[in-house]
Symmetry: C2
Subunit: 215 residues, 2 copies
C-alpha cells in the first residue's frame, strides 16, 4: 500500500466518522455525491482518496455507492487504526485525573482502538492518594513505564508553566504523539506529533452552529 | 447578508483558523489554490464560500490572493463571532472545575470571543467550598443566572447518569448551545445546538498523524 498524503488522511478520517454514524443510525450505502454535499470536497477528490485504500476501497464500491461494512475496516486499516494503541495521562490535577476513571465517551467508532495504560504526576503524594483503576506512577518512572507497556501517546494535562518540561521528558521517554491540553506551545522534535486542544475552537464551532449569520 | 449554508460555515471556520495561524506566523496573502492544496476543497467552492461574506470578502481579494487583514474580520462577522458570547460550566467535579480557573488555551483566534460567566453544581457544599474567580451557583439558580447574565452556551461536565437531566434544565433555562463532555447522548429540542466532545476523536486524529499507513 502506498503512503497516504496528509490531507487525504484527514478527509478519510472525516469520512470514517460519517460512515460510522450512518451505520449506527442504520442508513445504507454512501455515495461520493453525498459526501460532496456534506463536506464540499469534490466527488473526484473523494474517489481519489478512497483509491488510496487499494483493494479494500474498491471492494466497498458498488454501482449504488460504497458499502460501509467494507469501507469502514478498509479506512481503519489504511489509517493505522486497526489495532489497539496505548496512551497515558501526564499531570493528575483536576483535568488529568478527570480522564482517569471516566468511562470515555466512545464516539461513533467506539474506544476499542485505544487503551489508557498509565497516569503520571511529579507529586508522589498525589500518585499514592488518588484512587484509580489505571496504574499511576511518579513522573520519574516515565521512561521505564512507557517503554515497558509500549505506550505511544500521551494526554498532557499539566499547568502551562510545566508543559514544555513534561513534553521534553515524554519525548525522551520515546512517546510518539501528544495531545496538549496545556495553554502553552510545545517545542518538540518534528518526529513527535502534537495536537493542541483549544477550548476556543470548541466554543467557536458551537457558536457557528447556533447563530445564523446575517441576523 | 444572506443566510450562509451549514457546510459553507464549517469551511469558513476552518479557513478562519488557517488565516489566523498564517497571520500569527507572519505569512502574507492566502490564495484559494493554497486552501485547495491544504484541504481538498475545490478552489471554486472556496471562492463561492467567500462570496457569502458579501463586500467584506470581495474587499479582501486582490490579484495575488486574499488579504487576511480584511478576510479575518469579514469571516468573523459572517459567522457571528464578532461579539463576546458568555458561557457557563455545569458540573464542578474534576473536569468542570478544571475549566474554572485555567487560563484558556487561546487558540489562533484568542479567547476574546468568549467569556466564562458562571459555574453551577447541584452540590451546594461544593459551590461554597470551591475557590474560583468565576461566580459559582447552586444548580437551582440556573434559570435566573443564565437569563440575568445573558449566558448563551454551556460546557456540560456532569457524570453520564446526570447528563440528560442537566441538559433538560439548561434548555428550560434558555441556553442555546451545549458542549457535551459527558459520555451520554442528550435528547434536546432541535433549536438547541449540541457538540459532543469525544476523546476517541482526538486520539484518532493524533494517531493518524503519527502513523504513516502502509508500514
Amino acid at each position: 500500500m502506498n503512503h497516504v498524503p496528509e490531507p487525504a488522511k484527514e478527509r478519510l478520517l472525516y469520512l470514517l466518522r460519517l460512515l460510522e454514524k450512518n451505520r449506527d443510525e442504520g442508513s445504507g450505502l454512501v455515495t461520493s455525491a453525498m459526501v460532496e454535499e456534506l463536506t464540499g470536497w469534490h466527488r473526484d477528490t473523494i474517489r481519489k482518496d478512497i483509491s488510496w485504500l487499494g483493494n479494500g476501497g474498491e471492494a466497498a464500491g458498488t454501482p449504488g455507492g460504497y458499502n460501509p461494512q467494507f469501507l469502514i475496516p478498509a479506512i481503519r486499516k489504511a489509517l493505522g487504526l486497526d489495532r489497539v494503541r496505548r496512551f497515558c495521562v501526564v499531570g493528575l490535577g483536576r483535568l488529568g485525573s478527570a480522564y482517569l476513571d471516566r468511562p470515555f465517551a466512545p464516539g461513533p467508532g467506539g474506544m476499542e482502538e485505544f487503551e489508557l495504560a498509565a497516569g503520571f504526576d511529579t507529586n508522589v503524594n498525589r500518585v499514592e492518594i488518588l484512587k484509580s483503576s489505571v496504574p499511576l506512577y511518579p513522573a520519574y518512572k516515565m521512561g521505564e513505564v512507557i517503554s515497558r507497556f509500549g505506550i505511544e501517546m500521551a494526554l498532557l494535562c499539566v499547568p502551562a508553566a510545566a508543559a514544555r518540561d513534561a513534553a521534553g521528558k515524554l519525548a525522551a521517554a520515546g512517546i510518539r504523539g501528544i495531545i496538549n491540553f496545556a495553554p502553552a506551545a510545545l517545542a518538540l522534535p518534528p518526529d513527535i506529533a502534537v495536537r493542541n486542544v483549544y477550548l476556543a475552537d470548541e466554543l467557536r464551532a458551537l457558536a457557528v452552529k447556533l447563530f445564523p449569520s446575517g441576523c
